[in-house]
């Protein structure tokens, strides 16, 4: 009996040790997925090393046309260059922002990553984490494929550090069927919009949807209202230049308008627990009548169940102020290259090739509405939907606009603003107080 138990304990100790090593083994496997070192890079033949390029991106959804075209282009490149393997790291937007920050802190930025324009990428550029891409852009005329002026949002000190996947504007998508059911028409002024909301609500139709757990969504909508009440773009720039403060009447008017919309019951219950995808799904499954979002959402709406029932309209004027041809401008998330990449030349070669083929592939995959490059093609003949044509026509009307708050102000100020706006969804607050909050946060973070 004693011998038995001795053997048993030996076996158990052995199994335990084995399982520990197994756990340890799999952990290191996970760990090697993200850093930018090529795993097979040690086989050092003269010309053709086996290298792995890590490609961090924000297209995790397989129904997204951009995801499909990315996979197609990656496979094509891999087959043309057998010594290069491209590892995809697909995350949703907010998770990617976070992951990049942690990777940046430990200097393990992936070879290709995603950054957002202007103020959001500035800390990375200043910390010298991104490689300038001007040489890549000067090859094969890549620079010329981008819309005029677009690359400015990604350039600092005369050098460009990222190439965008889109150039979008903020529009209001609406469900034509639900509008008919509720007996309402497309509003041309904000006051009409509030009436539409009240009518729809009284008929049991959810007027608007938003994914306010991701705080940038509410901020995006709010900034569009500020664009109207300020009677033009550039409010935040004026605040930064100290020409105005947040206690300006235009800001307070925007806060009041925003709260009116919320108090009229526009948004779904528990709005601050819906993230971006959940909020958009509410619209895409026909459960909400209106959805304010950037035109990047077009592709997803077309592949959803409400395709064919959706139209778009420009955000209306507030109290007669503002120009509906001024939109919230959203230069897209952009691909950047790590300055410390172990395979800088190969990565830039891949990215350059990728961006050259991006417009064509996006056009064919029906995801070309809102990309940042010029596309030659007959959209209608290619089978783009009526809604896509409507959106493309809106692009022609753009006469200017503003960037989102978190692309203009530094992260400290932006965070204070984002939580302040999120708060308005949950409780009513005096607009003068909100203004004071913003001004205090701005001053504290911009000493």
């Amino acid at each position: 009996m004693a011998k038995m138990s001795k053997w048993l304990s030996l076996v158990m100790a052995g199994t335990l040790a084995l399982s520990l090593t197994a756990c340890g083994g799999s952990k290191t496997d996970e760990g090697s997925a993200s850093p930018s070192t090529g795993s097979g890079g040690k086989t050092d033949t003269a010309k053709e090393k086996n290298i792995t390029i890590t490609f961090q991106n924000i297209y995790p959804d397989p129904t997204d046309p951009k995801n499909k075209l990315m996979n197609k282009l990656v496979k094509q490149y891999e087959s043309e260059h057998p010594n290069i393997k491209i590892e995809l790291d697909s995350l949703n937007t907010d998770q990617q922002k976070l992951k990049l920050k942690t990777q940046a802190a430990s200097k393990e930025v992936p070879d290709i990553t995603i950054v957002n324009p202007a103020a959001q990428m500035q800390p990375f550029v200043e910390a010298k984490l991104l490689a300038p891409l001007d040489d890549m852009l000067d090859q094969n005329g890549l620079r010329g494929t981008f819309q005029d002026g677009l690359l400015d949002w990604y350039s600092f000190d005369g050098q460009t550090y990222a190439v965008p996947d889109g150039n979008n504007i903020g529009v209001v998508y609406y469900n034509k069927e639900l509008f008919e059911k509720g007996g309402v028409k497309v509003p041309t002024t904000f006051e009409e919009m509030i009436d539409v909301v009240k009518t729809l609500k009284s008929k049991g139709i959810q007027p608007m949807a938003i994914g306010e757990k991701d705080t940038w969504t509410g901020s995006f909508l709010f900034m569009n209202m500020l664009l109207r009440t300020n009677n033009g773009a550039g409010f935040l720039k004026d605040v930064i230049d100290k020409k105005k403060t947040f206690e300006d009447p235009a800001f307070k008017e925007a806060v009041d308008a925003f709260q009116n919309l919320i108090q009229a019951g526009a948004f779904q219950e528990g709005v601050t627990s819906f993230d971006y995808n959940a909020g958009e799904n509410l619209f895409k499954t026909g459960k909400a009548a209106m959805y304010f979002m950037g035109t990047w959402a077009t592709g997803g709406i077309e592949t959803s169940s409400v395709n064919g029932k959706v139209g778009v309209f420009k955000f209306p004027t507030i109290n007669g102020k503002g120009n509906p041809d001024e939109f919230m401008l959203a230069p897209g998330s952009a691909f950047a290259v790590s300055a410390d990449s172990k395979h800088l030349e190969e990565t830039k070669a891949f990215l350059g090739w990728f961006m050259l083929n991006f417009p064509k592939e996006a056009f064919e995959a029906k995801g070309a509405v809102g990309i940042g490059q010029k596309v030659d093609g007959d959209f209608k003949a290619a089978g783009y939907s009526d809604m896509a044509m409507e959106v493309l026509n809106l692009f022609k009307d753009v006469k200017g606009g503003d960037l989102a708050f978190d692309n203009t102000m530094n992260p400290g100020t932006a965070q204070a603003h984002l939580t302040s706006i999120q708060n308005l969804f949950v409780q009513k607050k005096d607009s003068a107080e909100v203004a004071k909050e913003h001004q205090a946060a701005f001053e504290a973070n911009n000493k």
């Binding site: 920050k101 200043e126 219950e269 992260p411 939580t419």
Partner: protein, 296 residues
């Protein structure tokens, strides 16, 4: 030391490797983090030494910090208040159930579920009735609709909803610990008490409680320290929102470090948390040592 008949040098030599690893992995990062608290640093760029300014801002100028401390301490208090309940359950299990192993295991089940799973589960339960939330639907169905709240988005109830989930998850854990403690009390004492006429809860008052105090202390310390660090549950369910209504110290630290890119400031919050945990452990140990002396 000499009982082992081994020289002190030998003991030191054997303990040293592990000690070095432990110090390197636990103490050195804590000290580095405390040093980071003295910097103005955005996490990826240059840092600037600013002394105690982060701490000054934290204690005097941060409107989110003290409410988050209050919520964290309340979390700790609620967690500690759960232990007597766990003890009661353990006592009942021992007295009235012949083979309680199955019940103990099933109570323990939520503990081994990942926090993310528990968080998602309760988020769905807490959802508004229109989104299929079970709790509100049940309340509406039995006519108690007025008790239905927006459990995770109403600032006044959100934190309590979170407390409940954490307590639900760990009840089994503490029950198991207390149950093991009760099992260690020798049966003879109870028999002797029964002869003297003390049964049931009277016996518990004079026999079980005093003997279980060391185990009780373990549970209290675990509950307290664990709740001070609570992060994943809050992050998964509400993210600290809406508008800081459910922010605890660790989520505030996370938001400051990663979202507002104020890594130095976040480090100062972390330093505060470390000091708080140490102080709390010290105080709890002191109280329980006094209690143990009184009872034995």
């Amino acid at each position: 030391m000499n009982v082992l008949k081994v020289s002190r040098l030998t003991i030191a030599a054997f303990v040293l490797p592990c000690l070095i690893i432990y110090v390197g992995i636990v103490f050195v990062p804590i000290l580095v983090s405390m040093y980071s608290g003295l910097l103005d640093w955005n996490g990826i760029g240059e840092s600037r030494f600013i002394g105690f300014e982060n701490f000054k801002n934290l204690f005097f100028h941060d409107p989110v910090f003290w409410p988050s401390v209050r919520r964290t301490l309340m979390f700790a208090v609620f967690s500690m208040a759960e232990i007597p309940l766990a003890l009661l359950v353990a006592i009942l299990l021992k007295r009235y159930i012949r083979r309680p192993n199955f019940l103990v295991s099933s109570y323990f089940l939520p503990v081994i579920l990942s926090v993310v799973v528990v968080g998602q589960l309760w988020k769905t339960i807490y959802n508004p009735a229109s989104m299929g939330g079970m709790l509100n639907q049940v309340l509406n169905a039995v006519g108690l609709g007025s008790w239905a709240h927006e459990w995770l988005t109403d600032p006044s109830v959100a934190m309590y909803s979170l407390y409940f989930v954490a307590l639900w998850q760990y009840l089994g854990y503490h029950t198991l610990i207390q149950y093991t403690g009760i099992l260690n009390v020798p049966e003879e004492i109870y028999e002797a008490a029964r002869i003297d006429g003390a049964e049931g809860f009277t016996a518990d008052r004079y026999i079980t409680f005093p003997n279980v105090i060391p185990i009780f202390k373990i549970s209290i310390v675990l509950a307290f320290i664990g709740s001070l660090q609570a992060f994943d549950m809050v992050m998964v369910m509400t993210g600290g929102g809406p508008a800081h209504a459910t922010d605890v110290i660790s989520t505030h630290m996370y938001n400051m470090s990663f979202l507002s890119m104020k890594y130095g400031y976040g480090s100062s919050i972390a330093a505060f948390l470390v000091v708080l945990c140490l102080a709390a452990t010290f105080v709890i140990n002191l109280i329980f040592n006094k209690l143990e002396k009184r009872f034995s």
